[in-house]
């Protein structure tokens, strides 16, 4: 017990100890996406779906949950089932065998929902483009709201994109809108 406490004190708080995302915004957020994201206010539940990635994109998604990035502090939560999700994060080109499961997942996710394509593969199939094994990028099968390019995008870049997506949803703006009667 003593050892555990000592270790925790010695380590201190590591959250935020990461280099900032490289300058120059690369991600794109569809204009309607921010509006949709407003509904979820400051809490967003994500479900990750891998449709054929090389698993580096997954590792970066996993990294988001580690103590260094700790996205829970931003109100972002990773759900175990698409039924609990507000947003789907899709990685990888959509393979012939994963096309069906992806569509099923999209169907089971309750409306309204956001779809985030993570990584070059999800956006344009990347290096796997054209292969008999892939049926196309994510937006060929389901509508995509946010695109985060990179191979893989760094966790800091993912956080930046998610922050941009939920911009404008401060308590202040909500108040302001309510009282100005201008939704």
């Amino acid at each position: 017990m003593f050892k555990i406490l000592k270790k925790s004190f010695k380590t201190g708080i590591v959250t935020g100890q990461y280099p900032p995302a490289p300058a120059g915004q690369k991600f794109s957020v569809a204009p309607t996406a921010q509006k949709k994201a407003e509904l979820f206010r400051k809490s967003l539940t994500i479900r990750e779906v891998d449709t054929g990635s090389c698993n580096a994109c997954e590792m970066e998604m996993n990294a988001l949950a580690n103590p260094v990035y700790d996205i829970e502090r931003l109100g972002i939560h990773i759900a175990a089932s698409p039924r609990h999700a507000d947003a789907l994060v899709v990685t990888g080109p959509v393979t012939v065998s994963m096309e069906g499961p992806l569509k099923d997942v999209f169907k089971t996710t309750p409306n309204p929902k956001l779809v985030i394509a993570l990584g070059d593969c999800a956006i344009n199939c990347g290096i796997f483009k054209g292969s008999y094994g892939v049926t196309g990028p994510v937006d060929q099968h389901i509508p995509v709201d946010v695109r985060i390019p990179g191979c893989p995008p760094r966790p800091s870049e993912i956080i930046e994109a998610l922050t941009e997506l939920r911009k404008g949803v401060t308590t202040f703006t909500r108040w302001f809108r309510k009282f100005s009667g201008n939704p």
Binding site: K3, I4, K7, K10, T11, V14, Y18, P19, E48, V49, D50, T51, G52, S53, C54, N55, A56, C57, E58, M59, E60, M61, N62, A63, A65, N66, P67, V68, Y69, I78, A80, S81, P82, G92, P93, T95, V96, S97, M98, E99, G100, P101, D104, V105, G126, I127, F128, G130, S131, Y132, G133, V134, C151, P152, R154
Partner: protein, 532 residues
């Protein structure tokens, strides 16, 4: 002096006229035999006390359009000497049938099913010829690795995707629990079908290849020099292992002597890759017993290694480090001292953590005797890498077939004989310390010099090379054959996951389903590298 035992001469003595000819390619002996002799000869290599060969790789090559034939290749690793021995046979013309060796050599099971799917060559006598790579909704008669199959074909489904055949056990009180392809965590897709009676698992049927992207066919669209980026993207967590194995294969073909400094740097990066994955896995395994504290610490340490990678190479996963002929990134003396200091901190940090983990009784209780993979089972399946070492299979390519700088860097190979989750954790922990030691050792030895050398020869179409790298999971094998104009004619990729997945089906028997995630994580296999 005892006469040196020569396996090829031994086979020639015994099988004499049954062997067509014997050749050597880049130091690997190849025994060419007629199709009907494959079974007796491979069986002999596998079972003979002096040879005891494990099947390391089995693959086919379509030699069209140059020659009207298919080739089948069998690669064995001999138990004592750890040497390679290859057997090869031809299927001329329209011949589509060959004799299955699976009934005698279990490790051939998935390979022969893969060959059937990818080439349409049928292993006669195979006990389980279900589709492996092509799921049921794939159209009939599609064999993507035929030379005349266009790489960019658009497949027309036969039925809605997602249906798979399973092996079922029927009986009173027997239940089936299907899991996947989409799982609860952030992991890759795969379908697991458990058959249980009460709590214990009676049978597990794996259905993978959801992520099949056609990597081997994509390689055939590349030139030899251009394939590195694709190799890096086969399995992201093994970026460096795969790119290194690919580069080595090309370097063998072009007879490039990689400069010493580049070879040392390759070892450094390979150990860094081992490090971040092992640390992450130790945490992941603890997390699967709901021990979140260890997981938090380990993922913090893993992040430190990834950030270190990023600072040194500009990529958290070491993309773009390897190139054909050497490495594209150098480390200055300052960078190297930064690396070693940071690793020292990480090692101290990790050692403290180890002491906390080691005394946690509830954790050890979950680890011990869970998911036992017996040595015999591991040997029968040809299991490689750390999973094999934890089950008493003493194989490590860094020592047995030194590549990069390992010929000058003796590696202390970790091992255990228990084969349970705990053994796999222990092997990982030893390897973490060993990797850090090796990098420190390299700091002392790192020579100066160029980072890259040029090609020496331009081999003809049909030349081939094999290369092997001990990645963090285990042996990564590449077979590379040149076609016309320096195009790749065939590239067979074997991630260690491909051989270790079937073994997991054996390790779970008798365990309860809640222990499955733990066992699975302790194997920590790649879906992407397996599915290709």
């Amino acid at each position: 002096m005892e006469p040196v035992f020569n396996p090829v001469e031994h086979l020639q003595c015994l099988f004499g006229p049954a062997i067509n000819r014997v050749s050597t390619n880049h130091g690997i002996p190849v025994v060419h035999v007629p199709t009907n002799q494959v079974l007796p000869i491979t069986r002999y290599i596998h079972a003979n006390e002096e040879l005891r060969g494990t099947l390391s790789l089995l693959w086919a090559v379509d030699r069209r359009p140059r020659e009207e034939r298919y080739e089948l290749w069998y690669l064995f690793t001999l138990a004592e000497s750890k040497d390679w021995l290859m057997v090869s046979t031809d299927l001329p013309g329209e011949e589509r049938l060959f004799e299955s060796i699976t009934p005698k050599i279990h490790a051939a099971n998935w390979y022969e099913r893969e060959i059937r799917d990818m080439f349409g060559l049928i292993a006669q006598g195979h006990p389980d010829l279900r589709r492996l790579v092509r799921h049921n909704h794939w159209p009939k008669g599609v064999h993507p690795l035929h030379t005349n199959f266009p790489w960019n074909s658009i497949l027309q489904w036969r039925q809605p995707p997602g249906s798979v055949d399973g092996h079922f056990i029927h009986g009173e009180g027997v239940f089936e629990v299907p899991v996947g392809p989409i799982h609860a965590g952030i992991i890759e897709p795969g379908h697991f079908r458990f058959t249980v009676a009460g709590e214990p698992i009676m049978h597990l049927d794996l259905q993978h290849f959801w992520k099949h992207r056609g990597v081997e066919k994509l390689f055939e669209q590349q030139t030899l020099a251009g394939g590195v980026a694709l190799a890096e993207r086969i399995s992201g967590d093994t970026t460096l292992g795969h790119s290194l194995a690919y580069c080595q294969a090309v370097e063998t073909l072009w007879e490039i002597h990689v400069p010493r400094r580049a070879r040392y740097l390759r070892s450094v990066f390979l150990e860094l890759e081992r490090l971040h994955n092992h640390i992450g896995d130790v945490g992941g395994i603890c997390n699967d017993t709901a021990y979140a504290l260890a997981h938090a610490h380990c993922s913090r340490l893993k992040e430190r290694v990834l950030q270190l990678n990023d600072r040194l190479t500009g990529s958290r996963f070491l993309r773009g480090v390897n190139c054909v002929g050497g490495v594209g990134i150098d480390l200055s003396t300052d960078q190297f001292s930064e690396l070693v200091t940071e690793l020292e901190h990480i090692e101290n940090d990790f050692t403290e953590l180890e002491q906390i983990i080691a005394v946690n009784a509830s954790l050890i209780d979950r680890f011990e005797s869970t998911g036992i993979l017996k040595k015999q089972t591991a040997w029968d399946h040809g299991v490689v890498g750390l999973v094999g070492r934890a089950s008493g299979i003493d194989r490590d390519l860094r020592r047995d077939r030194p590549f990069a700088a390992y010929d000058e860097l003796p590696v202390r190979v970790a091992g255990s004989s228990h084969g349970d989750v705990r053994a796999r954790v222990q092997v990982r922990v030893s390897e973490i310390h060993e990797s850090i030691r090796l990098i420190r050792e390299i700091q002392r030895l790192l020579p100066d010099g160029p980072l890259k050398s040029d090609r020496q020869v331009a081999p003809d179409a049909g030349a081939w090379a094999l290369s092997a790298v001990e990645g963090w999971r285990g042996e990564i094998l590449y077979f590379l054959m040149i076609g016309e104009h320096e195009q790749i004619h065939r590239c067979k990729v074997r991630d260690p996951s491909f051989v270790n997945w079937p073994a997991i089906q054996m390790a779970v028997i008798g365990n309860i389903i809640p222990d499955f995630p733990l066992i699975n994580k302790s194997f920590s296999l790649s879906y992407a590298g397996n599915d290709l």
